[in-house]
């Protein structure tokens, strides 16, 4: 009997879906088998992607080319990553693991710089601009549109400011040793709780809809596979 690749893929997909969904009746060995196998396979797969798509084109192949051509002046650019690679491999040995700190320090330093720029240009500035720009050109609009913009923009501005106030944990210490936030901040934070609750509720609704779609897709795939096996489509 010849098995097609699609049949094997479908059967595996069905098997793993049923094993994972069996968690609905409680934690059980089938679920554990599926999860452990998934972690192993996904890690192995990720490792091969790292090797073939990062290390091979950026480190191994360029080094091989240099060795073949004998143009060792180009090796300067690869010496540092090879050194870092060697240091980080030391992590395998508990005695030499400390050497890997040098590579980790490099990664943390570069990561911190990228994080600073990402936070500034990707989040803080665009979000502030979007909040401010909402009011742009409102003054030249007809009265009803101006009111709508002012109301919506005002609510967004209020939500942004009060949500930020909620995360302000600065407090003055009282003579009895207790600490309390300033009255205005406390009031803003109280309003901010409503906005934060609403924002998380909206995120919850989105994630729930996505999860429900995934569940329906999985059930549909099981039904589709079984129907294709039994000759009905």
């Amino acid at each position: 009997m010849i098995f097609s690749l699609d049949l094997v893929t479908g059967a595996l997909s069905l098997l793993f879906t049923v094993m994972i969904l069996s968690y609905l009746i409680g934690d059980n060995p089938l679920f554990k088998v599926a999860v452990y196998l998934f972690v192993g396979v996904a890690s192995g797969y990720a490792a091969t992607i790292v090797i073939w798509q990062v290390l091979m084109p950026k480190l191994f192949l360029p080094t091989w080319n240099i060795i073949q051509t004998g143009d060792y002046s180009r090796m300067i650019l690869l010496a540092a990553p090879w050194l870092g690679f060697a240091f980080i491999l030391m992590k395998i040995s508990p005695r030499l693991a400390g050497t890997a700190r040098i590579t980790m320090a490099y990664l943390v330093g570069v990561g911190a710089a990228v994080t600073i720029v990402g936070a500034l240009t990707g989040t803080i500035i665009p979000q502030i601009e979007a909040t401010v720009n909402f009011f742009d050109g409102a003054i030249s609009k007809p009265a009803d549109q101006m009111l709508e913009i002012a109301l919506s923009g005002g609510v967004i501005l209020l939500g942004t400011v009060t949500s930020l106030a909620y995360f302000h944990f600065g407090a003055r210490q009282k003579p009895d040793g207790s600490a309390k936030r300033a009255g205005v901040i406390n009031l803003l934070a109280w309003v901010g709780r409503v906005f934060i609750g609403s924002a998380l509720g909206a995120v919850f609704a989105g994630v729930y809809a996505a999860a429900l779609t995934a569940l329906i897709e999985r059930i549909a795939s099981i039904v589709g596979f079984l129907m294709s096996i039994f000759g009905r489509s």
Binding site: V39, L55, I88, R101, L120, T160, S163, S221
Partner: protein
């Protein structure tokens, strides 16, 4: 070693940061240097990921060796890891067998099923939230989620009037957006501060005090 690691983190962090902010006309080499440093970081992060996979492998082989409880599951994990790694190393990840068997047969179905399980756990969590923490934030949370659901669902007798056209868009695009923007700016400020603390040497997550 503590001083050396701090100097490396701060020096290379500042060099990368300068590449973003220095004008190209005045410092033509800054962007090139930054690109080289980022390329090195990508290579080293890949090496760190490999070490992470090796660590997973060694932790579970140790569990098998010591015949710990649930060692059978660790054996399955190790077998899956070795099989996927060996196949991927020889066939490459783009090979049809890797894509069909590993990706479409195991990885994607398990991820999608886990996502599907989330639908049930989220519902359970929402009910627990209502029972255990019916305060202002909890009520706002549930009310917003309910309004968005009511505006999104299609009922047998048709859509609910105003919910889909007015209430849901306003709640999600104005009311909840205000809170989301505050949270996002807060997260951005936190990330900015964490990065600055590393560059000033106040935090040293790579080791050392």
């Amino acid at each position: 070693m503590r001083v050396i690691t701090a100097v490396i983190a701060i020096a290379f962090g500042v060099l990368v940061l300068l590449g973003y902010f220095l004008p190209q006309e005045l410092f033509p080499n800054a962007a090139g240097l930054q690109a080289v440093l980022l390329d090195w970081a990508v290579i080293l992060a890949a090496a760190a990921a490999l070490i992470g996979v090796f660590n997973l492998f060694s932790v579970h082989t140790e569990k098998i060796r010591r015949r710990k409880k649930d060692g059978i599951y660790s054996a399955l994990l190790v077998m899956g890891l070795i099989a996927a790694f060996t196949l991927g190393l020889f066939l490459k990840p783009q090979h049809i067998l890797m894509q069909s068997i590993l990706l479409e047969g195991i990885i994607i179905p398990v991820e999608a099923s886990l996502m599907g399980l989330l639908a049930v756990s989220l519902l359970y969590a929402a009910v627990r939230l209502l029972r255990r923490r019916a305060d202002l934030m909890g009520v706002a949370f549930i009310a917003t989620a309910a309004l968005i659901f009511l505006g999104s669902i299609t009922l047998p007798f048709g859509d609910l009037p105003l919910f889909g056209t007015l209430i849901r868009p306003w709640v999600s695009q104005v009311w909840a957006l205000g809170g989301a923007r505050g949270i996002l700016i807060g997260v951005g400020l936190g990330a900015l501060l964490t990065g600055l603390r590393v560059l000033f040497g106040m935090d040293r997550p790579y080791g050392g005090k």
